[in-house]
Structure formats: structure tokens, C-alpha cells
């Protein structure tokens, strides 16, 4: 009740002060600069390197046309099918990675013993680039969906676990000491101090994790998937439908941003105390 009110007011305030500053105008000037550079270099000046690049006007035409030349625009159902499939894969991978990674990270941060056992193994596997797992994933898992989801999961999992663990380690020791003084057992301290205390770090980690998930998803889709945004980009390249490449890229960027923002908002919602604290300038 008054919780969401506080967040609302804060958001409104932020938006209005943003509008009053030079920021939005600079932003649009910046965009304008980039877009006009693109436009001019490809279509007007026809600079040598840029000749074969898809033109801005072409891309816009394609994207918004009711009957696109190459088959994908905001009016075609296929476009949304590919988006949906990529989103679904992200969802499976991300939620699984979070469900496994957060508890593991929490325990690794909390228990010295467990960390001594597991962390070296973890650190041995982590540097292996996710893409290097592609062939192995294809061998191990049947079908075309599972390897892709596995790869995405893997990348997300490592990022989430590591960040959660670091989060637990960053909690000020005094909080657990206070809890012990007040009569809490180790387990109670874990539940009431460590878990809430690590939350801000966990959510930062989750934002990183979802970025990494998209990264791996695209790679996986480009190599071994059918459908999905990465697949579109790759196919478009092979079939010399260059404007589709750009459409795919922009869509990716858009949804990458949206999903990351969703995670951030979820974090804000779960950590009301922090939102309020930060609003008052922290202490």
C-alpha cells in the first residue's frame, strides 16, 4: 500500500527531473547522430566499406511493412514466433540457473567447509567458454532444444553462483555477530541475516546472469538451433537478406534490455527497504 506509493512517487520524481535536465535532448541528439551517420554512409555517400551494408531506410521499410520482402516485420506472425521461442529458452535456462545457483552460492558463501570442497572444482570449470561446450552438449543431449537451453543455463549458472557467493562474503560481519548475540542459531542467522543481506548482490548478479544468458543463447542458436533470434540472424546472413540481420539485432537488443530491466524491477520490489533507503540518500 504505502510501499508501492513510495516507489511510484520516487519514479514520478525521477522522470520529471530527468525531463527537465538536458539529458533527454542530448540523448536524442546522440541517437540522431548515430542514425544519420548510418544513413549517410550507406545511402548517400556510399562509402567503400559501407556499400554492402543494409541501408537504414531499407531496414525501416522492411521492419514496418505489412508485406515484407524477406518475410519478417512487426506484422508477420513469424517474427513473434521467433521472439517467443528465444524468450522461452531464456526463461527455462534463467530460472533453472537461478533456482540452482542462488542456493549453491548462498551455501558456498556461508560454509567455509563446503567452499573448500566445491569452489576449486567450480573455478576449474568456469573458465571454459560456454560455446566450447557446444559439441559436448550436442553429443550428450538429444534433440535440438535441450543443448541450446543447456548452454544458456550453464553460462547463467556460473554467473549467478559466483555473484551470490561474493554477495554473502560482502555482508558486514557485524550483522551475523549481532544475531548470535541476540540468541539466534547458525541456521536462523543464515535465514534472517545472510539471505536478506545478500539480496542486493544477488540481484546485481542476476542482471549480469541474464545478459550472459542472452549471449550464450544467441551463440547457441546461431550454431545449432532452429528458430529463435540468433537463428534468424545467421540464416539472414546465409540467404543474403541483410536487412533481416539488422532487424534481428535490434530486436535482440530490445528484449535483452527489457528482460534485464524486469530483473531489476523484481529486485526493487523484493527489497523495499533498500529502495526507501536509497531514496532518502542512504546513510
Amino acid at each position: 500500500m504505502s510501499q508501492s506509493n513510495a516507489t511510484m512517487n520516487l519514479t514520478m520524481y525521477r522522470i520529471s527531473s530527468w525531463l527537465k535536465s538536458p539529458k533527454p535532448y542530448l540523448m536524442f541528439i546522440g541517437f540522431g547522430f548515430v542514425l544519420s551517420f548510418w544513413y549517410f554512409s550507406v545511402e548517400v555517400w556510399k562509402l567503400p566499406r559501407f556499400q554492402d551494408m543494409p541501408a537504414l531506410t531499407e531496414v525501416i521499410e522492411e521492419w514496418f511493412s505489412k508485406d515484407p520482402y524477406y518475410g519478417l516485420s512487426i506484422y508477420t506472425p513469424e517474427y513473434y514466433k521467433h521472439i517467443g521461442i528465444s524468450l522461452r529458452r531464456i526463461a527455462y535456462a534463467f530460472f533453472l540457473a537461478t533456482a540452482l545457483g542462488v542456493p549453491l552460492g548462498l551455501f558456498l558463501g556461508w560454509s567455509q567447509k563446503l567452499r573448500e570442497y566445491i569452489f576449486p572444482l567450480f573455478e576449474l570449470l568456469r573458465p571454459i567458454p560456454v560455446l566450447a561446450w557446444v559439441p559436448l552438449a550436442i553429443i550428450m543431449f538429444s534433440g535440438s532444444e535441450t543443448p541450446v537451453i543447456f548452454l544458456t543455463f550453464l553460462a547463467s549458472f556460473f554467473a549467478t553462483t559466483l555473484n551470490t557467493m561474493l554477495g554473502v562474503e560482502s555482508i558486514d560481519e557485524e550483522y551475523s555477530r549481532a544475531a548470535y548475540c541476540l540468541g539466534a542459531s547458525r541456521w536462523q542467522t543464515f535465514v534472517h541475516v545472510v539471505v536478506p543481506g545478500a539480496m542486493p548482490f544477488i540481484f546485481t548478479g542476476l542482471q549480469i546472469s541474464i545478459g550472459v544468458a542472452w549471449f550464450s543463447l544467441v551463440a547457441g542458436e546461431m550454431v545449432s538451433g532452429q528458430y529463435g533470434l540468433g537463428y534468424i540472424i545467421n540464416t539472414a546472413y546465409i540467404m543474403v537478406q541483410y536487412s533481416q540481420i539488422i532487424i534481428g539485432m535490434i530486436t535482440l537488443g530490445l528484449f535483452g534490455y527489457i528482460t534485464s530491466a524486469l530483473v531489476r524491477v523484481a529486485g526493487d520490489y523484493m527489497m523495499q527497504w533498500r529502495v526507501r533507503e536509497l531514496a532518502l540518500g542512504g546513510d
Binding site: R177, A178, Y180, L182, G183, W273, R274, D283
Partner: protein, 283 residues
């Protein structure tokens, strides 16, 4: 020997006896003695002020009593029972000796009321309703009515300290250990805090072990000042404060207060100078 009046209203529990305690740290192989054969006798219900330069080891002593680390040799007794000693170098933290930390350790993710109710909730002996009722009552007594549902990040530091003290008192501890709790407050807030603390003390007679480097604070609050030498710390001089309780701020300008100040100041300055010249980093 102390100026504590032996009458019926004094508690019989909470006497601390520190006997020949030594604490040696060993970071990176360089043995550092923090506490050097320290012996202090604190009768039940006394407000004992530990005064000394920064970094001299007073916090280490407090941590040993609280049970956050062990001692190297010596004994500490609480009401005649051994807290720690050879064979059991580390005491268990518990709700008979609760610490109020320098930077405050109120859980930012719980409301003030939830913080205060924390100890008994963990213990689980009373029902939730009973606990919250008691908590509300204690908040009213301490003048904190109205702030129950606020988060610590939303209120002033002075208020936070008071909530923390009430949180400690909920568990009916024998001893309260204060680690320079008012160090970060401005002097105006500090004087208000002092009077508030004394008020709380008069209602709940607990033994208070209070570390500070502020001489005025020490003389205003304490029954006795124990002035520590610079690292390694050892009691250098004991000053009795025979100004009668209950006290209020008018005490600060009384002639007796000045006399005691003079008595103590010379010694304190000498130790402070030594610490300054040794370039010790604050503990």
C-alpha cells in the same frame, strides 16, 4: 571498589571478572599483542567506562567477552561462572551479553519493530503476539512510538541507536557491551543519546561495559572510568566518578565534574600522544 550504591534496587546478576587476560593476534606470522595481562572487576549493575586511545585493543577485549574471538590466556567470569579460559578459549555469544556496535547493526531489511522482536522470536519461547506486544510497549517506553513500521534506513542514526538498545534489552541481558556506539554522531545528538541511555538504565539495571574515547561522555555516564594504555592495552588508571545518580546535563558544568576531568585528562592525553606517535591504525 566502586561508588555503586549497594541497595535493594541493584541487580545481583551481571558481574564480570576479567582476570589476567592476554590476547595475541597472529596475522601473517607477526605476533601482535592486543591485550596485555588485563584484570578488571566489574560489579553487577555498574556502568563501567573503558577509555583509551584508538587502536589500543579495547574492542578486542569487548569481543572476547562477547564471544567473537577467543583469548590467548587468562580467564573471564560472568557471575562466578567461567565464560572463557584455558581449555575453552572462546566463549559462545549469547543473549546474556549483548553488543551494541559502533556502526549499528540493526538489520536494514527488517522494520524497527521486527528488529526489536528478533531476539525473542529466535528463542521461540513466547508466542508471536506476546512478543510483538512486549516490543511495542518497550518502544513506547523508550519514546520510539510511531516508528515501528519504518525501516532503519529511513530514520536518523540517533533513533537507530535507541532502537538497537531496545532490541538488546528485549532479551533481558545481564550485560550490555557498547563499542563506541555514539562515535559517529554529532555532539548535539550525542548529549540527547546520553540522557536517553541513562533513562533506560534507570529502568533496567544492567551491567554496562562501555568503550569510548570521549572523556566527557565517559564521566557523564559512568560510575567508574578505566583508562587504558596504548597498545597493548592494560588498565593504567582507575577514576571513580562519585557524582550521584540520577544525573542530568547540569552535571556537565558542575565543579566536581571538572575535578574528575582534570584527574583523568592528563593520563588520557599521555596515552593518546603515545598512540599518535606510534601511528597506530584505529581498531
Amino acid at each position: 571498589m566502586s561508588t555503586l550504591e549497594k541497595n535493594d534496587s541493584m541487580p545481583t546478576m551481571g558481574a564480570i571478572r576479567i582476570e589476567d587476560v592476554v590476547k595475541v593476534y597472529d596475522p601473517d606470522g607477526a605476533a601482535v599483542m592486543a591485550v596485555d595481562h588485563c584484570s578488571i572487576d566489574i560489579p553487577a549493575g555498574e556502568i563501567c567506562m573503558i577509555v583509551g586511545p584508538s587502536g589500543c585493543g579495547k574492542t578486542t577485549l569487548l569481543n572476547t567477552i562477547a564471544g567473537f574471538h577467543g583469548l590467548t590466556s587468562g580467564h573471564i567470569y560472568l557471575d562466578g561462572e567461567i565464560l572463557c579460559g584455558p581449555g575453552q578459549e572462546k566463549a559462545e555469544p549469547g543473549s546474556d551479553r549483548i553488543v551494541v556496535f559502533q556502526n549499528g547493526a540493526l538489520f536494514p531489511w527488517k522494520t524497527n519493530l521486527e528488529n526489536i522482536a528478533f531476539g525473542p522470536m529466535m528463542e521461540g519461547k513466547l508466542s508471536k503476539d506476546e512478543i510483538y506486544e512486549k516490543a511495542r510497549k518497550m518502544m513506547v517506553d523508550a519514546g520510539l512510538e510511531g516508528t515501528e513500521n519504518a525501516y532503519p534506513g529511513e530514520v536518523s542514526s540517533g533513533l537507530r541507536r535507541r532502537v538497537e538498545i531496545v532490541r538488546a534489552l528485549m532479551n533481558e541481558p545481564k550485560v550490555l557491551l557498547f563499542d563506541e556506539p555514539y562515535r559517529a554522531l554529532d555532539s548535539l545528538t550525542k548529549s540527547v543519546m546520553h540522557e536517553a541511555l541513562l533513562e533506560i538504565y534507570y529502568k533496567n539495571k544492567v551491567t554496562i561495559f562501555f568503550i569510548t574515547h570521549d572523556l566527557e561522555e565517559a564521566i557523564f555516564l559512568g560510575h567508574r572510568l578505566i583508562i587504558m594504555s596504548s597498545r597493548p592495552c592494560k588498565p593504567k588508571k582507575i577514576v571513580e566518578v562519585d557524582i550521584p545518580h540520577p544525573r542530568d546535563y547540569s552535571v556537565l558544568t558542575s565543579p566536581r565534574f571538572r575535578e574528575i576531568m582534570n584527574e583523568a585528562k592528563g593520563v588520557v592525553n599521555e596515552e593518546a600522544r603515545k598512540a599518535f606517535e606510534a601511528g597506530e591504525k584505529e581498531g
